[in-house]
Symmetry: C2
């Protein structure tokens, strides 16, 4: 939940003169996204999202994110479409922050998406990977495999506070992932953070993919690993193979996965689990105990990581090669 920058009504009025969006009916900060300030803007023409980019976002990355959203939305995907100002530009400034306005997407997100939603997600993810091929801009994955050892080293001295012997166990599992990390798999632009709270539905129909601010270039099937982890584990920590199969088959139908990609799923998913485990561990250690926003428990992802390192093949994900 986040509104870091307050936008004055006078500042808003002056700012909106740069656009042709109609008369403002309402304007409210919304509690979505943790990196930026987001406002829901209603005019007599439509609903929009105004995003102000806060300090954690590197301004030099913004043209990449905006190109990606524009590429996907104009290809017909349900993604926020950056709205052009009267001068044709998309990136603006407000209250000293870079900002942009986007089309608003209907829909709500589901904490535990069902099988139909997992299928829709698979289709959308593959479509996104295909449509993003025309991207001119590119962005390295700042939280990819190369970042994991330095990230772990920075918190190593405190890792045992979450469990006896954890420091050694994390190092061993990290080493195993890095040793087995696949090469030669198809790469391209991935979302890299497509958790259920970033996907909107009306009923079981997917109506929105949002929050592209971790998007980057990496192994395409790694995005599937991220989605398997965040969509197919139940509240009790169990893995739902039916949902996994639905997601993978729907993906494969749009962008056929090679055998090499299928076989790499356990290590890609384990790598994704390691990435979220490590960033959560970092936040866990660095968040003051009396902070208003509670850090997420890293151990959820530790258990997911162990699952992927325990499976013997793709059958565990509902796929028979």
């Amino acid at each position: 939940m986040a509104v870091y920058t307050i936008v004055d009504d006078t500042a808003l009025e002056t700012f909106l003169e740069r656009y042709a969006l109609g008369n403002v009916l309402s304007f409210a900060g919304i509690a979505e996204g943790v990196e930026n300030s987001n406002y829901l803007l209603r005019t007599d023409q439509a609903n929009y999202i105004l995003t102000l980019y806060e300090k954690r976002v590197d301004p030099t990355d913004l043209p990449f994110f905006l190109e990606l959203m524009e590429t996907l939305a104009t290809a017909g995907m349900n993604c926020p479409l950056p709205v052009m100002a009267r001068d044709g530009s998309v990136l603006q400034e407000l209250e000293g922050r870079p900002c942009a306005i986007f089309s608003f997407l209907d829909g709500t997100w589901s904490r535990f998406p069902n099988k139909e939603k997992c299928r829709e997600l698979g289709t959308a993810l593959a479509t996104m990977h295909l449509e993003a091929k025309v991207m001119r801009r590119h962005r390295l994955n700042a939280l990819g495999p190369l970042a994991w050892q330095p990230l772990f080293s920075s918190v190593k001295s405190e890792a045992d506070t979450i469990g006896v012997g954890m420091t050694q166990q994390i190092q061993d599992r990290l080493d195993a992932i890095i040793e087995n990390w696949p090469t030669g798999l198809p790469e391209g632009v991935i979302h890299a953070d497509l958790f259920p709270n970033n996907v909107l539905f009306i009923g079981d129909k997917l109506t929105g993919l949002i929050d592209f601010y971790f998007a980057c270039d990496d192994i395409l099937a790694y995005d599937l690993g991220i989605c398997l982890n965040s969509w197919c584990f139940e509240a009790d920590g169990s893995f739902n193979l039916t949902k996994s199969r639905a997601m993978l088959k729907a993906y494969d139908k749009v962008r056929p996965l090679s055998d090499a990609e299928f076989k790499a799923i356990p290590v890609l998913a384990a790598g994704s689990a390691m990435r979220f485990f490590l960033t959560r561990l970092y936040d866990w250690i660095h968040t003051p105990t009396d902070a208003l926003v509670s850090p997420k428990d890293p151990m959820e992802y530790w258990s997911i990581l162990r699952f992927h390192q325990s499976v013997s093949g793709t059958a565990a994900y509902g796929i028979d090669l």
Copy 2:
């Protein structure tokens, strides 16, 4: 900014079966209000606000607040109308919290409202005071004059941290207010927190009065004191007599003020300044320095308080008796 209770999509779906509001298009926590969790709910029929009442609100006060909003909205005022569930009830429960759904009001609030907006506010405030006369329920002002000395005593030992000699100055000014507090003035239901962020406008037309959760029974003209303080001082601390006159005259046109009420304005406004000074001082002292939400500077209200105790009569507010 506040969303304290997270509402699950499944919980929402089940909850909304109690209502006939149409199909959900979107649902987002909004960063308004500091006491409760507020969600903007869009359906294919209309926009609504879902409010979950958090711990700081006494559940026994809720019927009073809901009756007030219903009374004003059905009288044609631009106030949130509590929406009835299928069974005819208004107060419901969700995620273990009392809650209610309200009609959504268009408009945005103005940080520094102009003279026309002050006039609109005066008209709306007087109308509210008249329309609320039919209220069956009543509520004592928990932050009225009787509460100020105990509130001050609870922070007295730390009051000098905001300025040398402040402890004695606060006590002297508080004593002066209490000694001169008027009796016999018309009483009724007041809003008690009608700051600019609780009043919505489209252009200069008032479209919404919101956040009735400090409403209570007290001296009606005390509500004017609260509004003079929060609407008529400029960013540099100066008092704008033109705005004050516009507000008071507009009020007087709808509910004529007696000479006694006019004459009591300086002390009522000073009392209001003391009330907000003391609660801000309390928050200032009790908020951890690393908290995400910064407490408001109490000294803004100290300067307002000094203004009202320095004036010699109603002419300072633009009124010639």
